[in-house]
C-alpha cells in the first residue's frame, strides 16, 4: 500500500521543532483532529502554536478547493511563537486539500495522502488533470500515499456502521498515525472519545478502533521509508500548572476575572458573528460567576443592552468583529458621553464590509482609535497572543471601571482561534480594583445644602457611578451635551469646549505602564514595532537577526490608545522604525502622527499571519547597505489561500438550498 518500502532507518530524528498541517474537506473533521493533536502535544510537554484555517462556508460542497479546511501546528522542544512558516508534514485527506496546501510545504517535506479519495471525480473537482500522486509532479517532496479510507472501513467493521458513517472515523485513523509518528500517548484521547460519545458506544468504539488502527499502521514493520517515529523532547517550561487556551477562551476568562476583581456582576450582550461568537459561547457556561448573557436581535441592541446594564450597575460587555463594531459605533459615542464603563471586544477579521470572515487581519485599528462621530476618545488595548488576551481583558475591565469609559479590546481571528499552552495564573496574583458607587450627594450648593453633581470628577477625571435605585440621587443622563457638573442639558459654547477637553484629557490620562522592549536593547539601528497577533513572527525574526549580531529590537505595544508615555522617546533611540502590520499601515500612521517619527510600514493583507521568513527578509533590507531598501509590502502568498471561488454573495452555497 505504501508507495515506498525502503528500509526503515535505525536512527530516530530529533529536530527542535516540527510543523504539521492537517488538511481535508470541511466535513472531514480537520479542526477536531488538529485540536486533539494539540492537546496530546501539550500533554507531551512541547511548546506549541496553532493556526486553524477554515473556509467561510459551513459545509462547502465536498471535495472542492474552497471547501478545504486546514489546521497547522508548530511544536518543539524550544520556545514556539508562531504556527510555523512552512509545514514539514502535510496530511492531505483529498486532492483539493493537497492542491491548496502543498505549495507551502518545505522542500523535502512529507506528504501523507489518502489514495481512497484520489478518485477521478475528486481530481476533477480539485482541477487536477492527472493524479499528482502518480504523475511525478510531487517529486520535490516525499510522498506516502495509501488508502486511509479503506483501512478505516476495515478497522471499524466490527461496529456495523454503514460506509458513510464508518468514513467519519477517517480523521481518527489519521490522528492515530500522527500520534504514532510523534510518539504520543493515545490514552487521553481514548478517554476523551469515550466521554464524548458516552451515549453512543458504537460511535465511541469505532473512533477508538480507527485511532488504534492508524497507530498500529505506523508501527507495522513493512512501512518505514519516509515515515519515522520522531520524538520531540519536552520544552523547559517554568514549573506550574498548564493548559492550552485559545484567544476566545482567554478573553472570556479574563473578562470574568476582571469582573470578579471589580466585584461586579457582568452583563454580556452579543450577536452571532464570525469569529467573535466563540466568546459568547464560552461565557454562557460561566453563569455561576454572576454572568448574564444576552443574545440580542442585532449588534446595536447587543451594545445598547450592555450600556443599559452598566447604567444599572453591572459591568457591561459586548463583542463583535469589524462589521458589527461598525454598527455599534453610535452607541459607543453615547457611552463616551454618559461616561459609563463598557468593554467592547473586537475580534478583527479581513475587511472591509463582509470581507474575509474567517481570515485574520488587523485593519480595524483606525476604526477603534478614530472611528466615531464627534471628538469621541476611548482607550484601546490589544492582545498579542491567546494567553496574553487573559491579562489584556482584565486590564480592559480595570480601565473601564476606574475611568468610567468604554474601552476597546482588539484581538483578531488568529488569536481568537489559535491555541497555545498557558501557565494557569493564580487569580490572587492580580490586585483587586473594586468598583465604587455613589451612595449620597457629593457636593454642597451655595446655601450649604447637599447637592448631587453627577458629572463632578475625581482626580482621574472620572465621574461617579450612580446606580438607579439609590435613594435621593435621581438624575438624568443622555447623549446631549451636558453641563460640566450638573449633567443637565447645556449647549453653551464654553461648556462644550470644556466637556470636549475633559473627555479627551480623561482618556489621555489613563495610567499606562511604560513601554518595555520585548527583545533587544533600548537603542539600536532598527526597532521593529508591532501590536496584536504579529508578536510571534516578529519576535522570532528579530531573534534570528540578533543572533547574527544586528542591533535590532522588538517593541510590542499593548496600549494603542493612549500610547505609553515613554514610547516616543524610546523610538527616538533607534535609527529606523519598521512597523509590520496585517493592514495597509494603520499603526504606522498613528506613530507618525504622535511622534513625527519616520516609521516605515511592512504590510500584509492576504488573510494569513506573517511568516517569520517574510519578516526576516524585511528586516534584512535594513542591513544590506542598499539605500532606501526597507519597509514595503509582503506579496500575497497564493499557496496559503484556498481558491477564492465561493458560493453566492449572501453566504449560501451553490447547489445548496437550506
Amino acid at each position: 500500500m505504501a508507495t515506498q518500502t525502503a528500509e526503515r532507518p535505525a536512527d530516530t530524528h530529533t529536530p527542535e521543532a516540527v510543523v504539521v498541517r492537517f488538511a481535508g474537506d470541511s466535513g472531514d473533521g480537520m479542526q477536531l483532529t488538529g485540536g486533539q493533536f494539540t492537546l496530546s502535544t501539550a500533554l507531551a510537554g512541547n511548546d506549541l502554536a496553532t493556526f486553524p484555517d477554515f473556509p467561510a462556508e459551513i459545509r462547502a460542497p465536498q471535495g472542492t478547493l474552497f471547501g478545504v479546511s486546514a489546521f497547522q501546528i508548530n511544536f518543539g522542544s524550544r520556545q514556539i511563537n508562531t504556527a510555523g512558516d512552512a509545514p514539514d508534514v502535510l496530511v492531505a485527506m483529498n486532492p483539493a486539500a493537497l492542491k491548496t496546501n502543498v505549495e507551502a510545504l518545505k522542500p523535502g517535506g512529507l506528504i501523507i495522502a489518502d489514495t481512497g479519495e484520489f478518485t477521478k471525480r475528486n481530481l476533477e473537482k480539485a482541477k487536477y488533470e492527472s493524479n499528482p500522486l502518480e504523475d511525478g509532479s510531487l517529486a520535490r517532496w516525499q510522498v506516502l500515499a495509501f488508502d486511509i479510507s479503506a483501512l478505516t472501513i476495515e478497522a471499524v467493521k466490527p461496529f456495523g456502521l454503514g460506509n458513510k458513517d464508518a468514513l467519519r472515523s477517517k480523521n481518527m485513523w489519521t490522528l492515530g498515525l500522527a500520534l504514532w509518528m510523534f510518539d504520543r500517548d493515545r490514552q487521553p484521547l481514548i478517554d476523551w472519545l469515550e466521554a464524548k460519545f458516552k451515549n453512543k458506544p458504537e460511535i465511541a468504539g469505532a473512533n477508538v478502533a480507527a485511532l488504534n488502527a492508524g497507530h498500529a499502521y505506523g508501527e507495522t514493520a513493512e512501512l518505514g521509508g519516509h515515515l519515522h517515529q520522531t520524538h520531540i523532547p519536552a520544552v523547559e517550561h517554568e514549573p506550574g500548572l498548564y493548559r492550552t487556551v485559545t484567544g476566545a477562551e482567554a478573553v472570556s476568562l479574563g473578562l470574568v476575572a476582571g469582573a470578579q476583581l471589580a466585584e461586579l456582576p457582568m452583563f454580556f450582550g452579543g450577536y452571532p458573528i464570525t469569529p467573535a461568537s466563540a466568546i459568547l459561547h464560552h461565557l454562557v457556561r460561566m453563569k455561576e460567576f454572576g454572568v448574564t448573557t444576552f443574545q440580542a436581535e442585532d449588534e446595536i441592541a447587543a451594545i445598547c443592552a450592555a450600556i443599559g446594564a452598566s447604567y444599572a450597575g453591572q459591568l457591561g460587555v459586548t463583542s463583535s468583529s469589524g462589521p458589527g463594531i461598525a454598527l455599534k459605533t453610535e452607541a459607543m459615542g453615547l457611552a463616551i458621553m454618559v461616561e459609563l464603563p463598557l468593554v467592547i471586544v473586537n475580534s478583527q477579521r479581513g475587511g472591509p464590509s463582509t470581507g474575509l470572515p474567517t481570515k485574520t487581519e488587523q485593519s480595524d485599528l483606525y476604526q477603534a482609535v478614530y472611528g466615531r462621530n464627534g471628538d469621541a476618545p476611548l482607550p484601546v488595548i490589544a492582545a498579542s497572543s491567546p494567553s496574553d488576551a487573559f491579562e489584556v481583558a482584565i486590564e480592559a475591565v480595570r480601565i473601564a471601571t476606574q475611568y468610567m469609559t468604554p474601552v476597546i479590546l482588539l484581538t483578531d481571528g488568529y488569536i481568537a482561534n489559535a491555541a497555545e499552552p498557558w501557565k494557569v495564573p493564580d487569580p490572587k496574583s492580580f490586585e483587586p480594583f473594586p468598583a465604587k458607587f455613589l451612595e449620597e450627594k457629593n457636593a454642597k450648593d451655595a446655601d450649604g445644602n447637599d447637592e448631587l453633581l453627577p458629572y463632578r470628577r475625581d482626580a482621574k477625571g472620572a465621574r461617579p457611578w450612580i446606580k438607579p435605585g439609590t435613594p435621593g440621587l435621581m438624575h438624568r443622563v443622555g447623549g446631549i451635551e451636558k453641563h460640566v457638573e450638573t449633567g443637565n442639558i447645556d449647549y453653551s459654547p464654553a461648556n462644550h469646549q470644556k466637556m470636549t477637553d475633559l473627555r479627551r484629557d480623561k482618556v489621555l490620562g489613563v495610567a499606562v505602564p511604560d513601554q518595555e522592549v520585548a527583545l533587544g536593547d533600548e537603542t539600536g539601528e532598527l526597532a521593529v514595532v508591532g501590536w496584536g497577533s504579529t508578536y510571534g513572527p516578529i519576535r522570532q525574526a528579530v531573534r534570528r537577526w540578533r543572533e547574527k549580531g544586528r542591533k535590532v529590537s522588538h517593541i510590542h505595544v499593548r496600549h494603542i490608545w493612549p500610547l505609553p508615555k515613554n514610547l516616543g522617546e524610546l523610538l527616538a533611540g533607534f535609527d529606523h522604525v519598521l512597523v509590520p502590520e496585517m493592514n495597509t499601515g494603520q499603526f504606522k500612521t498613528v506613530l507618525r502622527d504622535q511622534y513625527l517619527v519616520d516609521a516605515q510600514s511592512l504590510t500584509k493583507t492576504s488573510g494569513q499571519p506573517f511568516q517569520i521568513a517574510e519578516l526576516e527578509a524585511a528586516i534584512g533590507k535594513y542591513f544590506d547597505g542598499i539605500e532606501g531598501d526597507e519597509g514595503g509590502e509582503v506579496p500575497a502568498n497564493k499557496a496559503q489561500l484556498p481558491e477564492p471561488q465561493s458560493g453566492y454573495d449572501d453566504g449560501t452555497l451553490k447547489g445548496h438550498h437550506p
Binding site: 510537554g45 517554568e238 514549573p239 500548572l241 441592541a301 435613594p471 435621581m474 443622555g478
Partner: protein
C-alpha cells in the same frame, strides 16, 4: 409593576427643575401631567423608577420627571431598557418613544422587546410626524400627508402601532390620547401588567401635524367616536346608542344600533381582554366606519423575559461554585516540575 412598598408622593415630587422645551400647546405636556399624576397613585418610588427614551420630541420626557432618566439614542431605547431590567429587575422602567423612534429607526428593537416580554411600560407617542426634525412624514403618517419631504403628499402606507405590537407578540396592548381624562387609568392598567405593556398614545403635534386626531381626540365633542373598552363590559359607544357585534359568518366586527339600551338584543359583544382574536380585529378597525378603539384592547400576561433569564442563570449555576482558580485550571491540564510534564 414591582412588589415594592408603596411610597407616598405628590405630583410635585415628580417634577424636575428643568425647563420644559416642547412647543407651547404640544400634546406632550398633557401626557407628562397624566404620568406625573399617575405615579403617586401607583405608590411609585422616584428612586426606583427609570424613564428611558430614544430620540425625538417625546424622548425629551425623562428630563422632566424627577426619577432616574436615560435619554439614549435614536430607536434603541428598548435595548437599553432590556439591559437595565436584566441587570436590576426590581427597577420600575418606563420607556418613552415616538412613531419615528419606535416604528421606523427602532422598529426592530420594539418588535424584540415585545416578543421577549420584558417587564416595562412602553409609551409610544404617536403624532404621525417627525417633529424634532421639522415635520417630515413618519411611518404612521396617513397617505397623502404633505410634508417637507413629501410636498405632493406621502405615498407609503402607514404602519399601525397596535397591530404591530400585537403581531410582535405583545401581551398587553392599549390606546389613549394626550388630553384624555382616562389616560391615567390606561397607564395604571399597563403598570399592573407583568410583562411588556404597549400603550399607543395619540399626541397632537400642534406645529407640524395639528389636530389630525380631532375626529376622536378633540378635547370636546368627539366622544361619539370613542369606543372605550372595558373588560367584561359590552362594547358600546356614542352614549350607548351604538355597539360592536361580531358577524360570525364574515368573521368581522360590525357597528350596530342599540335600541333602548338593549345591547344584548343588538348582539353587542362583551369585551374580554384575554381574547387575542378579537384584539386582532380591534387593532385593525378602520377609523371612520368604526369608532377609535381605546383603553385596554388586550391584556393576557405571560412569564417575563427577566424571570426566564434569572431562572436559567440559577439552573446553569446550580451546584457550581464560583471559584475562579478552578475555572482557570479547567479542562485537560498538565503540571511542569523542572522539565518533565505530567498530565493530571
Amino acid at each position: 409593576m414591582n412588589d415594592m412598598t408603596p411610597i407616598e408622593t405628590t405630583l410635585k415630587d415628580w417634577e424636575t427643575d428643568q425647563e420644559v422645551r416642547w412647543c407651547p400647546g404640544c400634546g406632550d405636556y398633557a401626557i407628562l401631567k397624566a404620568v406625573q399624576r399617575t405615579l403617586p397613585q401607583l405608590g411609585s418610588d422616584p428612586a426606583n423608577t427609570v424613564f428611558v427614551s430614544g430620540i425625538g420630541c417625546s424622548s425629551r420626557f425623562p428630563y422632566y420627571v424627577e426619577s432616574y432618566g436615560f435619554h439614549t439614542i435614536h430607536g434603541r431605547a428598548p435595548a437599553f431598557a432590556t439591559g437595565i431590567k436584566l441587570a436590576n429587575p426590581d427597577l420600575d422602567v418606563w420607556l418613552v418613544t415616538g412613531d419615528g423612534d419606535g416604528l421606523s429607526i427602532g422598529g426592530n428593537h420594539l418588535m424584540h422587546v415585545l416578543r421577549r416580554n420584558v417587564n416595562l411600560q412602553i409609551m409610544l407617542f404617536n403624532n404621525e410626524i417627525y417633529g424634532l426634525t421639522k415635520g417630515q412624514f413618519s411611518p404612521t403618517s396617513r397617505l397623502g400627508t404633505k410634508s417637507p419631504s413629501t410636498p405632493l403628499g406621502s405615498f407609503d402606507r402607514p404602519a399601525q402601532p397596535c397591530a404591530f405590537a400585537l403581531g410582535s407578540g405583545a401581551r398587553f396592548v392599549a390606546r389613549g390620547f394626550d388630553v384624555s381624562k382616562n389616560l391615567p387609568d390606561v397607564l395604571k392598567a399597563a403598570h399592573a401588567h407583568q410583562g411588556a405593556a404597549f400603550i399607543e398614545i395619540f399626541q397632537n403635534c400642534i406645529v407640524y401635524n395639528k389636530d389630525v386626531f380631532d375626529d376622536f381626540a378633540a378635547p370636546k365633542g368627539a366622544e361619539a367616536h370613542q369606543l372605550w373598552l372595558e373588560d367584561g363590559q359590552p362594547m358600546l359607544f356614542d352614549g350607548g346608542t351604538k355597539g360592536i357585534c361580531l358577524d360570525r359568518e364574515a368573521l368581522e366586527l360590525r357597528v350596530v344600533d342599540v335600541v333602548d339600551g338593549d345591547w344584548q338584543a343588538a348582539g353587542v359583544i362583551v369585551h374580554n381582554v384575554k381574547n387575542r382574536s378579537i384584539a386582532h380585529m380591534l387593532v385593525e378597525l378602520p377609523f371612520g366606519a368604526f369608532p377609535m378603539a381605546l383603553g385596554v384592547l388586550y391584556d393576557d400576561p405571560r412569564p417575563t423575559f427577566e424571570a426566564a433569564v434569572i431562572e436559567e442563570r440559577a439552573r446553569a449555576s446550580e451546584g457550581k461554585e464560583a471559584n475562579l482558580a478552578k475555572l482557570l485550571g479547567k479542562g485537560q491540564t498538565w503540571t511542569v516540575s523542572g522539565t518533565a510534564a505530567d498530565p493530571v
